[in-house]
């Protein structure tokens, strides 16, 4: 060795300090940008949520404490939108889970043309969210839309019947769910498929030796083995389904169909910045709760690996 540092311990310490300095340097641009465009805005909206702050009345901005939040708890529209958001979230994620699970089962087998089938399911996922909404809106058109046409041709709908599918906000939710399930099931399928590929075929072989058929193999091998992936995929989907907004704007002008929609309308139609910030913060807090659950699950999964 050409040079010996005074004490090896000190050299290590020096290197550690240099590393930390280097890390700070590398992180600085990202941290600055995120502080600027994320942390500061979200802090600002927390502050505004405690103010009466309407852009249309710039002279009357004042601190009202929890006033916006208390008003929301008494607001009928807000509760309706919460109801519908949960209805949408739970039903669409449940349907995606069931469909995604069975699709993944199919695509996990070996058969001719598997690449084609695996590739084709990515098409809905890749479609623009807005285009997906418009496409289904076109399918649901009374009279000349594909849904009415198919039902008429299959004689499931009498020729003189011509229902308006998107008639009221409650039935709209069901049609929105179908459209959303179509688009996001592939995401679920691909996540579950990745989990299934880790299940060794020998487990099925052993089950088959014990005389297990399809349902028994499913119950005793697939489901227990797949549980960690299922839970992670479901929580991730819940976090994303609960923010539903884009697709609703295509189907209806009624903002009470989701909390995000109502928040958006309060902000950009009426310019109630204080109240919409309070609504946004309630959503944010709820999603942070889900994120914490997600983090715990991720950590547990990586521990068992």
């Amino acid at each position: 060795m050409a040079r010996i540092s005074p004490s090896p311990r000190l050299g290590l310490l020096n290197r550690k300090r240099k590393d930390t300095l280097f890390a700070i340097l590398l992180l600085l641009p990202t941290v600055y940008v995120l502080c600027k465009v994320f942390i500061y805005p979200i802090y600002q909206s927390a502050v505004w949520s405690l103010f009466k702050y309407n852009l249309t009345e710039p002279g009357d901005v004042r601190f009202i404490g929890w006033g916006n939040y208390l008003e929301l708890l008494k607001n009928h529209d807000f509760w309706v939108s919460i109801d519908r958001t949960f209805y949408f979230t739970i039903l669409s994620v449940a349907a995606e889970l069931v469909l995604g699970f069975f699709s993944a089962l199919l695509l996990n087998q070996s058969f001719k043309g598997r690449t084609f089938f695996r590739g084709s399911i990515i098409v809905p996922w890749a479609l623009l969210t807005l285009v997906n909404g418009l496409m289904w809106n076109w399918i649901y058109q009374p009279g000349n839309g594909a849904l009415s046409q198919l039902l008429h041709r299959a004689h499931l709908l009498a020729p003189d019947q011509n229902p308006v599918w998107l008639g009221n906000s409650d039935s709209i939710m069901n049609f929105v769910i179908l459209a959303d399930v179509w688009k996001t099931t592939p995401f679920m399928t691909l996540l579950l498929l990745a989990g299934m590929q880790h299940i060794p075929g020998s487990l099925y072989e052993a089950a088959a030796m014990d005389g297990a058929g399809f349902w028994k193999k499913l119950k005793h091998v697939t489901i227990p083995q797949l549980m960690p992936s299922v839970i992670v995929a479901v929580v991730l989907r819940l976090i994303n389904a609960i923010r539903v907004y884009d697709i609703l704007t295509v189907f209806t002008g009624d903002p009470t169909t989701s909390v995000s929609y109502l928040t958006f309308n309060n902000a950009f139609r009426y310019f109630y910045l204080g109240r919409s910030s309070a609504m946004a913060w309630l959503t944010t807090l709820f999603i942070i709760l889900l994120i914490v659950v997600y983090m715990i699950l991720l950590r547990r999964n990586s521990d068992t690996d």
Partner: protein, 310 residues
């Protein structure tokens, strides 16, 4: 072999699954057929509708009697053509600049988070993941005010400002700045995962040869993680291409409208032209669909790496 045993043999093969698998071939193919119809029929309806004339669409045909490109011709040559083309240009510019900026600064942060041990590292990672999963609605209102007043560069949480941009509403810059709010946390989270997978030994060998951290970062870690960086870029591009809430709140003019906004306006208050809408929707979706099909491996790898928004 008699006829009955042969038939029984075929029956057994059709209705019994291989021991290492679950589903017998007969049910497998029924399932695959259903899956294929469910996935492709709505999309086929979109494509076929875009190839029909108005009269056919209004009379409710599912298959065109006569294929026509009139909707596409009108889209690129009709009265609204300039607006549509400018929407394509805006989408490309916004998605490309967002991706370039995100990767350029995110790649360094990811290296630090994946490779250097320092205090608060896991807290930082948690914050990144949380920011990535939080919805747009959490920050859209303050960002709107920021775009209205112009973005300042200074020290956050203080009044120190070095310079201030002009108001950004109705410019592509408003979208680029706001898209960074979700693309940067996402890209950092994803690339950190990829960088962690680069074997440590390679880097340590370079350290022994006297190469410093800065050099090994460029010569060893980045090249080895290139597929991951590419996958992250693709995802960033696709999410920016798809974004709607920021675009609809920050842009009112064709100077900055992106494709999702332009397409939605074909079926708005002023017109109800399903032929044009389906054609425009098909054109707008073509890049993400083609990218996903050709780069299928990257997309699936990225999706399963975790944290991608559904």
């Amino acid at each position: 072999m008699s006829n009955t045993t042969l038939r029984r043999g075929i029956g057994r093969r059709l209705f019994r699954a291989k021991p290492t698998e679950l589903i017998p071939p007969f049910y497998l193919w029924i399932g695959l057929a259903l899956l294929c119809v469910f996935t492709l029929a709505p999309f086929a309806n979109l494509v076929l509708s875009s190839l029909m004339e108005k009269q056919e669409l209004l009379s409710g045909h599912l298959f065109p009697k006569k294929f026509t490109l009139i909707n596409y011709r009108q889209l690129f040559g009709g009265p609204g053509a300039l607006d549509f083309v400018s929407a394509i240009r805006n989408s490309v510019v916004v998605a490309a600049v967002t991706t370039a900026f995100t990767i350029l600064i995110g790649v360094f942060a990811s290296y630090a988070l994946a490779r250097i041990k320092f205090r608060f590292r896991s807290t930082a990672l948690f914050a990144i993941l949380a920011m990535q999963l939080l919805p747009t609605i959490s920050i859209v209102v303050p960002l709107y005010m920021m775009m209205r007043d112009g973005v300042t560069v200074g020290i956050p949480f203080t009044d120190i400002v070095w310079f201030r941009t002009p108001p950004l509403l109705n410019t592509v810059w408003a979208l680029i700045v706001s898209y960074i709010t979700f693309s940067l946390p996402f890209a950092v989270w994803m690339m950190t995962g990829y960088f962690k997978n680069v074997p440590k030994e390679m880097e340590e060998a370079a350290f022994v040869d006297g190469s410093g951290r800065f050099r090994t970062m460029f010569t060893i870690v980045f090249p080895l993680a290139m597929p991951g960086i590419a996958a992250t870029s693709i995802f960033t591009f696709l999410t920016a291409w798809d974004e709607f809430m920021f675009a609809s709140s920050f842009t009112q003019t064709y100077a900055s409208k992106t494709l999702p906004i332009a397409v939605s306006e074909f079926v708005g208050k002023h017109s109800l032209d399903w032929g044009l809408m389906t054609a425009a929707g098909f054109i707008a979706s073509l890049p993400p669909v083609l990218i996903s099909l050709f780069l299928y491996r990257y997309i699936v790898g990225g999706l399963t790496a975790g944290g991608v928004k559904g």
